[in-house]
Amino acid sequence: MSAAVAVEAKNVSKIFGTAGAEVRALDNVSVTIRQNEFFTLLGPSGCGKTTLLRLIAGFEMPSEGSILLEGDEVAHLPPYKRHVNTVFQSYALFPHMTVAQNIAFGLEMLGKPKAEVQQTVAAMLKLVRMEELKDRRTSQISGGQQQRVALARALAPRPKVLLLDEPLSALDLKLRKEMQIELKRMQMETGITFIFVTHDQEEALTMSDRIAVMSKGKILQIGSPTEIYEHPTVRFVADFIGETNFIEAEVTQRIGGDGQIKLPSGVTISHPVAENVGVGAVVTLAIRPERIDLVRPGAEAHLNGKISNVVYFGTDTTFHVEIDGANKHVTARVQNRRGHQEVLKAGDAVGLRVAPDAMQILKD
């Protein structure tokens, strides 16, 4: 049941502009979003994530490909014939209506009986905790409250899928954090599939069941937050989400699925590599700064180097290390669980040790 499909995009492309000045906003994108899922489209601005959302909502028609909503083709239906609702980045609340009237709008347009409309509006006001402000004009409430109303308005008709277009971007940090938790709660309470668009990696990691990372009109990787963070498959994903060190290393030998990989320090490690990676190939390893331990230079270390800079962040301290024989610097982050340790300072020689599972070989 939980594996049932809510939305499916098949080979969708969207081209804006006229011949000669074409912009390919989406390039042959396919994705399957399951029911009851909190699915996030993550990427920098211009990556096509909002375009994909607008195609699902029906504000744009795909140039190629099809969009299925619970198995039915909807690509050429107008928005008002799709059981999908949107929370707009700008909220787009109707300024000539009260909070309650805004929430009732969709239900009234669907021709629901008055009693049902009132009941649902009351329930929605309760869900977003706006009961006391129901008769206010939308211009008389704060940004965070407008956000809640926009959410209630979009949820009131009980859409099959709720689309959220960077809804938290206009809120200040504290409110944004609160709303992240609220959104997740509402998604769980209503059981509605959420498709959430954001450029904020932290938002994506904290709320999503699955994330699709997008760049230049393509989906690069789809996976759970841990998969995306711990096992990025391409350089863009590793770089866009969190901080990453990239280390080039050479494959010296292959034994079955494993390769012997020679690090710049000369140390060789054993790591699974893809079929098409042959002996002599140079691969890129992605290593998260917090997965690197600082050790004495020598036998224990995977990499050796010299500390060039120490940056204290409060919760943790970041060491910038010039790697011997690689003309590269690596960032290592150490948690200050026992307070700041002033043992190591700039200029000290240091060894870096990385757990084998913390080294991720990238495809590109």
Partner: protein, 313 residues
């Protein structure tokens, strides 16, 4: 306590002085406009009110003697032979025709102006400017000349009739000139820009994402127009309707040229009293009647508008 008070006193009195100076400056700045209004609008208005209560002079003008005749003859007339008092049919029918023609002109202007304004408001910035420029072109020419141009189009030997005759659609020229229809067309042509411009001004400010939100919430095109766009441009609709209705009601040139002698409107009736009718008090009383109609229409309109607003929220 006392310290605080004495400390705040100089500041407070300084602020009060600034306030007084501001007020004085504001009066000084608005004085020229106020003086013009006083002499050019309120002064003549008082004269008109006074004249309406005076006795008419035999060769025009007024005699300085109180008389209710002017007001009396606005809708009533006394038979010269029998002294029987009857309703002045001519006045009443002109009055009704004026209201009717102005009303339908306003409705038509709204029907034609709304899509036009919507079209302009949804263009990109460059072509918007072009369209607005085109809308204002008719204002470059004198009203009388424009009205004669309309006459060229609709008269018996005019463009419309020649075309229809040539195509064999009709056998005899259509009588368009000197009809209420001709007057209404003329008024529509003259005042349509006054509807389009305020409508455009309020449409241009619409956040078209609200339209998307409407579609998203299951509203069809028509319902988005009715429930989202229309309420948002209502100020423009009100302004445009007022700007079209009021001058239409008092129109003089258009009914005179296109309506001939038969299809008079209030403006023509008033002019007649000051001209060949030589009944200045009646003319003055009719003028005030016209103003009163405008005021009542405005009040009804505004009140109705605010009521629907309250209902829609």
């Amino acid at each position: 306590m006392a310290d605080g008070k004495s400390a705040s006193n100089p500041a407070a009195s300084a602020a009060a002085a600034v306030d007084r100076r501001d007020t004085r400056n504001r009066w000084l700045l608005s004085a020229p406009a106020l003086i013009i209004l006083l002499f050019a609008a309120i002064g003549p208005l008082i004269i008109v009110v006074v004249y309406s209560f005076l006795k008419k002079g035999d060769y025009g003008g007024v005699e300085w003697q109180f008389s209710g005749d002017g007001w009396y003859s606005v809708i009533l007339q006394k038979d010269i032979f029998t002294d029987a008092v009857t309703v002045a049919d001519a006045h009443v029918s002109i009055l009704l025709r004026s209201v009717k023609l102005s009303f339908f002109t306003t409705i038509l202007a709204l029907l034609f102006g709304f899509p036009t304004a919507y079209f302009i408001a949804t263009r990109n910035e460059k072509s918007r400017e072009l369209w607005l420029f085109l809308i204002t072109i008719p204002f470059w020419t004198n009203l009388l000349i424009r009205t004669f141009a309309v006459m060229e189009v609709i008269r018996n030997e005019g463009i419309v009739n020649s075309l229809l005759l040539g195509l064999g659609v009709i056998d005899a020229p259509l009588q368009i000139m000197f009809t209420d229809f001709a007057v209404m067309m003329g008024l529509l042509y003259v005042y349509l820009p006054l509807m389009v411009l305020p409508l455009y001004a309020s449409m241009e400010r619409i956040d078209f994402r609200l339209v998307e939100a409407g579609y998203d919430l299951y509203a069809t095109r028509w319902r988005v127009l009715r429930h989202v766009i229309f309420p948002l441009v209502k100020p423009g609709v009100i302004a445009g309707s007022i700007l079209v209705f009021i001058p239409s009601l008092g129109a003089y040139v258009t009914p005179r040229v296109l309506g001939g002698g038969r299809n008079l409107m209030l403006g023509n009736l008033i002019e007649m009293q000051f001209g060949q009718g030589r009944n200045w008090p009646l003319g003055a009383a009719l003028s005030i009647t016209l103003m009163a109609i405008v005021m009542i229409a405005l009040l009804l309109y505004v009140r109705n508008a605010s009521k629907t607003e309250a209902r829609h929220g």
